[in-house]
Symmetry: C3
Subunit: 212 residues, 3 copies
């Protein structure tokens, strides 16, 4: 019971952080109005979980519990109203966003296993839960999704999901394992932001040109 409450609170914190960051990204990157900021903030917060649930073939959890909708809408509205102030706080907001990434990777992988998916599939779905919303947002505002091109974003999410899955396979899953998985994901993400780490790019030994 207490565990569930703790997970719910973390999940709502993650939803809020994603909606806030998603709304701010929308304001920065595209000429959008209030409908756009709210829609894009809510898609950032809820899109990954909706994709996961579509693949699991169940009704999206965010459409069954009004609290997710309310928290996502609140985060997006705050982004709309205060984007000119919040843009100065990009550091703290990225740290908050990393909490969303961690929580969603762990809870997404857990839900995928609960619905009987195999271990690799559960790792993929956990990662999708964490990065899917931001990817849809970026496609809609015509940015190459940053998760595909720069920084460390999918990799810490995948590691968090993988630790969750492996702990479950070893029958070690519980509060401690979930927190470990989330903290590992969060730390790698934050270290990546701080040191501006990037995943490797395709090798190009002969200085190829863009041909397209």
């Amino acid at each position: 019971m207490e565990t569930e409450l703790f997970v719910l609170i973390l999940d709502l914190v993650g939803t809020f952080a994603f909606a806030l960051n998603g709304g701010l990204t929308a304001v920065r990157a595209a000429k959008v109005d209030i409908v756009g900021v709210i829609t894009l903030g809510m898609i950032t917060a809820m899109g990954g979980g909706i994709l996961r649930d579509m693949i699991l073939n169940v009704q999206p959890a965010t459409f069954q519990d009004w609290r997710y909708l309310a928290v996502a809408a609140a985060g997006a509205l705050i982004a709309f109203a205060f984007s000119w102030v919040l843009d100065r706080l990009s550091g703290p907001i990225e740290i908050l966003d990393a909490i969303g990434l961690s929580v969603f990777a762990v809870s997404g992988a857990t839900k995928a296993m609960d619905f009987g998916l195999g271990p690799v599939q559960a790792m993929i779905l956990g990662t999708l839960t964490a990065v899917g919303g931001g990817t849809i947002r970026d496609a809609l505002i015509l940015r190459i999704p940053s998760v595909l091109s720069e920084g460390l974003y999918a990799i810490p999410a995948f590691l968090g999901a993988a630790i969750t899955v492996i702990a479950t396979q070893l029958e070690l899953y519980g509060m401690a394992a979930a927190i470990t998985a989330a903290v590992v994901c969060w730390l790698i993400r934050v270290i990546g932001v701080y040191f501006k780490l990037n995943a490797p790019r395709p090798p190009q030994p002969t200085g190829t040109q863009d041909k397209n």
Copy 2:
């Protein structure tokens, strides 16, 4: 029975209008061939309903009733063949498109409630039914979806869906309530087009620059 026929006719009119307008938008905004015009016209007409049904976790209605497919294909084909004529009729076509918006907002919200979703969720799904197809089309032809950035499009759809939901909650739902909801949506949309109204943009008190 007569009500069902009336709703079916309106639904097909909306499907036709969306396919026609979607196909014309595709021709105008991007270098597409006949496959592109038909695909984008049909996605505009059926995409919102498909997204709604994916979230409701049921097979899309448009894949079960061939009449929707036929009407959507016809609208898109007409757009392909006559885009050079129809482009001069953008006024009448926007009025027709507003009928699609209204019908889909009301029928989408109704279907969401029929499947047991809560009131706010039904309002969101009604709006998604109305604006989802055009949003997918815009993402595919690399336009920032206009619903996120200009004009009044999602707002009248949301109002139409909200009236539908509230009337149902008050046990007033029926033909009269559905028509009222659709007419309110249609009027606000048409007034918005006529007076070029826009939803508010994010406040920018200190002349911020685009930083991305």
Copy 3:
């Protein structure tokens, strides 16, 4: 039994070809890192089938059989590691990609009929299975999906799906019909690539300008 094995092998060959070609397209068209190449390669290979299964309202097959995931990941990884070499082999790779197109059109239409969809719907879903993954990839790397704008890609897929559906309706479906359908699709695709054939564009009798 042998038929099933034959279909499985073809399906995996198609998955590999799509992942390889999808990964290479991603490297060529956008500044992506290893996460981007693998994600976009796997989306190209599995996206069409996932969309088909979402519309059929069943759990995506690619999430239930690890072999699809493994083959798709392998194709994408090879694209990542050897893109600078493989780019010189675009001819052979397009021929391989055409195998993927053919196999997915036939298997997609067959699965749609197995789940009770009507004939036209099954043709559409077969085509979607074949072209859907590449379309999602193109939207994510901000290209107008080539299937909507140039070459013959959806048309051979639709013909392959249509032959499959008609053969089934005439109770002629079996190994021979499936291979005929796939070969017709493959031949038209390859002929189209070789002669640079395009589908017709919207008629523009009066030299219209882009107005958007």
